[in-house]
């Protein structure tokens, strides 16, 4: 982190993974708060990206997110992760109601040992990230109500030849059958590019 402060405009691979992992952490917390997966009283405010964001105070949830994101960070560093999906399912029917998909494009040339750090100011990246998070917050205006109690799950799309650690298992893509799709904004750190999209069940 100290290195990042010293050179505000140079983005290294390590710095980029930190930024993207941090974005995912705040992004997932925002989604959980906005969609009402957990009671709003369990969230507290913090300032980040020039916005007031809500993060959970529940210890079990915090631990779960920390473990998952630590692993994702490793995969980001090795550039083997392709997508991160937040799936929201109903508890009673186990039906997938919403699917938040974050596509990650990695610029593989940054992995070379001789690669120079990229030039992009942190302020620009923060501005792009804050735009995405504001869009996530604003989606409440068109997303259908989640009537039943819901639970969420995180899926990670990785390269086929990746060595799967013990604590992770394979899963299906968990698509939604009759869905409406909305593309959100994207941001890039010049090494990692993250696109966001939300799929929700059409209620006719």
């Amino acid at each position: 982190m100290a290195g990042k402060l010293a050179q505000k405009s140079a983005i290294t691979l390590r710095g980029s993974t930190d930024i993207v992992a941090e974005f995912f952490s705040y992004g997932i917390n925002s989604i959980l708060y906005q969609r009402g997966i957990y009671p709003p009283e369990t969230f507290s405010r913090c300032q980040k990206y020039g916005l007031t964001l809500l993060v959970t105070t529940d210890d079990t949830l915090k631990k779960y997110l920390a473990e998952v994101l630590a692993q994702i960070k490793e995969w980001l560093y090795s550039m083997t992760v392709q997508k991160l999906v937040v799936v929201i399912k109903s508890v009673d029917t186990a039906e997938v109601l919403e699917r938040w998909q974050f596509d990650i494009e990695c610029d593989k040339s940054a992995k070379d040992p001789g690669a120079k750090p990229r030039e992009k100011s942190e302020a620009d990246i923060n501005k792009e990230i804050s735009a995405v998070i504001r869009q996530i917050t604003a989606t409440v205006t068109f997303l259908p109500l989640l009537e039943t109690a819901c639970v969420f799950d995180l899926l990670v799309y990785t390269d086929k030849d990746l060595d799967v650690p013990d604590s992770w298992g394979e899963s299906g893509p968990q698509f939604i059958s009759n869905s409406e799709e909305v593309r959100l904004r994207s941001f890039t750190t010049t090494i990692h590019k993250v696109d966001a999209m939300v799929c929700y069940k059409k209620d006719d």
Binding site: Q34, R35, G36, I37, Y38, P39, P40, R45, Q47, G50, L51, T52, D58, T60, L61, Y64, L65, E67, V68, Q71, Q82, K83, K89, V91, A94, K127, R134, T137, A138, V140, T141, L145, L146, E147, T148, A149, C150, V151, F152, D153, L154, L155, V156, Y157, T158, D159, K160, L162, V164, S167, W168, G169, E170, S171, G172, P173, Q174
Partner: protein, 565 residues
């Protein structure tokens, strides 16, 4: 040595035969009691089940017998009778092993323990080939394994994977190609799933507490919700005083199309025209009309003196109209996009644009643009100067509430607490440093700020999109206009922020509020194309007369004195 399968079938068929015999005899004897018997059998819950799956101890006994017959393996298997097993996956548990039975979806692929493939164990053949002695078994699967997190287990996937492992016949060359193309099409051009592995953390996220229901449903469903009400000591009429027709009123949250002058004229922009309604004699005059069909008026604002009306339109121009002569005084350009908000500070007119820029115009001089503020990244929808002219508050679609001191280029405060567009911005008339702000759909809060310290004094959840806030000096109250689902106006007591009253009547969301010069009436314009006038801050005649008495006394005294002389 008889095959395991045969042995079991024999035994069960014998049991079945015996059962049938008994039944026949029974029915013969008591044929006329059959119906009653059946009924009582069904309703008796404590009698041993005649037609259910075998009891656990029975099943174990059967499997032990099998094992004894076959010369048993180290693993024990629980085998279900045919009736249940037909079509369902065999459940296997390892009794005595330290490992907890795994969930359905994880077992087939990643588990590294032996003896897992269903096809290999001998016990499996009877599943498909055996006869069903008990035809009336219920189809609900009966299992006794522990599933740690039912809600996040993908049972369908697990079942499919387990079933498919048996009948795995390699596809012919052409079929593989076809299948690939089908999957590609189904995945809608997304990355070929064969190239990616989809992983999920084994330990699932904790579930929300029992009994926690998503409260967004309460927020977004129509129907009156019981809100805590503060005691109101006065009678506030629940019906509007008047309803005015406002056809073609643009249903755009970000525009400010209503304003009431100090001369008691209500200015309203409908599409491309501006109308003035004289509240005193209820006459309507058309002030101006835009020629082009595509352009529209986006904002109206009266100067404090009440004789000049500033009109902002979609082209980015701000026009100043002399109302008494119905003449256009000047047109001020400079904005790149529509002007959604205007605010007067004696001779300075500030205009907020869709680009996020705020321009200060000095209306007396030819070179009118005297200041430019660019702190907002998206449309500026809320703009107001403080009554003493020291501060300017601006709210934008980027969820920022900025407070500027005078004509400064950088804001003194930039509040990010709101999570949606800040359109409702209102300064307190009697406390010059207190500011009220309201957020849009995703935020729904009203916040009170002290701009000297930068602290948020109070925050209230209104459960609805806030479009406008007005202060009432006579009663020390606030009134706010709302959208979905009630489309109501709420009156709050300051500073406690308890609800005094709720005024309903609009059938679509409220878009703007304006207060009469005497402070007694509030006009609300809504998307249902009406303007309702609510007489909610009635000037108390007693209070008025008592205050005027104090002025009269010295006059009468002196008159008396004069008289006496």
């Amino acid at each position: 040595m008889p095959k395991r399968g045969d042995f079991k079938v024999e035994k069960l068929s014998e049991i079945a035969k015996r059962r049938n015999q008994i039944k026949q005899r029974k029915s013969d004897i008591m044929a006329h009691f059959n119906f009653e018997n059946n009924l009582s059998e069904l309703t008796k819950l404590d009698a041993p089940m005649q037609r259910g799956p075998l009891m656990r101890w029975q099943r174990k006994a059967l499997s032990l017998d099998d094992q004894a017959g076959a010369g048993g393996s180290s693993d024990r298997h629980l085998s279900l009778p045919e009736g249940i097993a037909g079509g369902l996956s065999p459940r296997r548990t390892r009794i005595g092993s330290s490992r907890t039975p795994s969930k359905g979806s994880k077992t087939p692929l990643t588990c590294r323990t032996p003896n897992r493939t269903p096809g290999k164990t001998p016990g499996n053949s009877k599943k498909v080939s055996g006869k069903t002695p008990n035809k009336k078994t219920p189809l609900t699967p009966h299992s006794d394994r522990f599933i740690p997190s039912r809600s996040t287990t993908d049972q369908d996937l697990g079942h499919y994977l387990m079933m498919n492992n048996e009948n795995e016949n390699p596809l012919a060359g052409g079929k593989v190609d076809y299948q690939q193309r089908v999957t590609e099409n189904i995945c809608k051009g997304q990355q070929d799933p064969q190239n990616a592995k989809i992983l999920s953390f084994r330990q699932k996220a904790p579930q929300a507490k029992e009994g926690y229901l998503n409260n967004l449903k309460v927020l977004y469903s129509s129907g009156k919700c019981s809100a805590p009400k503060a005691l109101s000591t006065r009678q506030i009429p629940q019906q509007p005083d008047r309803i005015l027709d406002a056809p073609e009123l643009l249903d755009d949250y970000y525009l400010n199309l209503l304003d009431w002058s100090s001369h008691n004229h209500l200015a309203l922009a409908l599409g491309g025209s501006v109308y003035l309604w004289n509240a005193g004699n209820s006459t309507v005059t058309l002030l101006c009309e835009l020629e082009s069909e595509e352009e529209y008026i986006s904002c109206v604002s009266w100067i404090k003196e009440g004789n000049i009306l500033a009109v902002g339109n979609s082209t980015g121009a701000v026009q100043l109209w002399d109302v008494s002569q119905q003449k256009l005084m000047r047109t001020m350009g400079g904005h790149a996009a529509r002007v959604g908000s205007l605010a007067w500070n004696s001779y300075i007119l500030s205009s907020g644009c869709r680009s996020g820029a705020i321009h200060h115009h000095d209306v007396r001089v030819a070179d009118h643009q005297v200041g430019t503020l660019t702190s907002h990244a998206q449309e500026v929808c809320g703009l107001q100067w403080a009554p003493d002219g020291r501060y300017l508050a601006s709210g934008g679609n980027d969820n920022l509430l900025n407070v500027w001191e005078g004509m400064a280029e950088a804001p003194v405060h930039s509040f990010t607490h709101h999570m949606a567009a800040v359109k409702a911005v209102a300064w307190c008339p009697w406390q010059p440093s207190v500011l009220a702000s309201g957020g849009g759909t995703a935020d729904r809060h009203i916040r009170l700020w002290n701009v000297l310290t930068g602290a948020c004094l109070h925050s209230v959840d209104t459960n609805s999109q806030v479009c406008s806030i007005l202060w009432s000096s006579s009663y020390k109250e606030l009134i706010s206009g709302h959208g979905f689902s009630q489309n109501q106006l709420i009156i709050w007591k300051y500073p406690a922020m308890g609800r005094v009253a709720e005024l309903t009547g609009h059938t679509a969301r409220v878009l703007g509020l304006a207060m009469s010069p005497d402070g007694s009436t509030v006009a609300s314009a809504a998307a249902d194309e009406t303007i309702r006038l609510w007489r909610c801050f009635e000037i108390d005649k007693q209070r008025k007369s008592s205050s005027s008495k104090s002025f009269k006394e010295p006059v009468t005294k002196s008159a008396l004195q004069r008289g006496i002389r």
